[in-house]
């Protein structure tokens, strides 16, 4: 393994977990539903970066790109459905606060 590859792996082991932490922190701390979606997006970007980095290091870039394309397609559909759910929640509760969803009504 070359020193450049070793340096790249070292950087990835620091930056990818930091991205995961940022996304998780956003989801846990926020009360705004749209900001929680932003946190989910950041988590999926961290996963995408991990896939691409592993593909580059292992020399299997084609396979990693195929997995990344699948991940992006699923991510977009999840975002669209989640956005629709948020719009419906706002129509029912007139607020974006997640605490309004804690009361179950028949």
């Amino acid at each position: 393994m070359t020193s450049q590859m070793a340096q790249l792996i070292r950087m990835m082991t620091i930056f990818i977990p930091l991205l995961f932490i940022a996304g998780l922190y956003c989801i846990v701390v926020t009360r705004n539903l749209i900001r929680a979606l932003i946190g989910i997006e950041i988590l999926s970007k961290a996963a995408t970066l991990l896939l691409v980095a592993v593909g580059y290091v292992s020399g299997r870039g084609a396979l990693s790109q195929a997995c990344v394309i699948t991940l992006i397609m699923i991510e977009v559909v999840v975002m669209a459905i989640a956005a629709g759910i948020i719009v419906n929640v706002v129509q029912h509760t007139d607020s974006l606060d997640r605490r309004n969803l804690e009361n179950l009504k028949g």
Binding site: R35, C67, V87, D97
Partner: protein, 200 residues
């Protein structure tokens, strides 16, 4: 390697801006910048197809989805809980940079035997298209099914209500019986007139 470090640092910084920004529109724009930075880094890692997908889909389409959601959910009147959300936003998200610095310090000290790693044999001649069509056929089927699910899910979620029927609690609460006008029948007449106009 310096370029990689700059791109990764920029990616993390912009992601933090997207998390910490108080205005949700600016946060969505910062998220688009995160996608652009990630796409640039993917080009550096010899993954051009994934980079193009990330740039066009995540940087473009997802940002449009966010803007549409924000435009449809922006409240006309700020409720008390939204005021509280904005007032406490600063100190709740101020811990993120500190947490990231601490985590970076811990991760930098974790010993990882990078030099001794034995990498598997590479497949340099493989093409993404061949891999998708020959090895990942089920992924393609799954993507098609997911797209159909998303299509029908959006159709259901954005379905219009029946005219004359109050669809949501918010509409029911806005009705004011103390006023002389029956808002329910007035809105039902308006919806019926608009629907017949679109059909005609």
């Amino acid at each position: 390697m310096t370029v990689n470090l700059v791109l990764l640092s920029g990616l993390l910084i912009v992601a933090c801006v997207a998390v910490m920004k108080r205005d949700i529109v600016k946060a969505a724009i910062a998220l688009a910048l995160t996608s652009i930075t990630l796409s640039a880094f993917m080009f550096r890692l010899a993954s051009p197809l994934a980079a193009v997908f990330e740039l066009s889909v995540c940087g473009g389409l997802v940002t449009v989805i966010f803007m549409c959601t924000i435009s449809q959910t922006k409240p006309l009147v700020l409720h008390q809980e939204d005021d509280e959300e904005l007032n406490t936003h600063g100190w709740r998200f101020a811990a993120l940079p500190i947490l990231l610095l601490l985590a970076a310090g811990v991760l930098a000290r974790v010993p990882i035997p990078v030099e001794g790693l034995a990498l598997p044999p590479a497949t340099p001649g493989a093409d993404v298209r061949n891999v998708l069509w020959t090895e990942r056929q089920l992924d393609l089927l799954g993507q098609t099914l997911i797209i159909f699910v998303g299509f029908f899910g959006i159709l259901v979620l954005f379905k219009r209500g029946v005219p004359g029927v109050e669809r949501t609690d918010a509409e029911r609460m806005k009705r004011a019986p103390s006023e002389g006008q029956d808002l329910n029948s007035a809105s039902a007449n308006e919806e019926t007139a608009s629907e017949s106009a679109t059909r005609g």
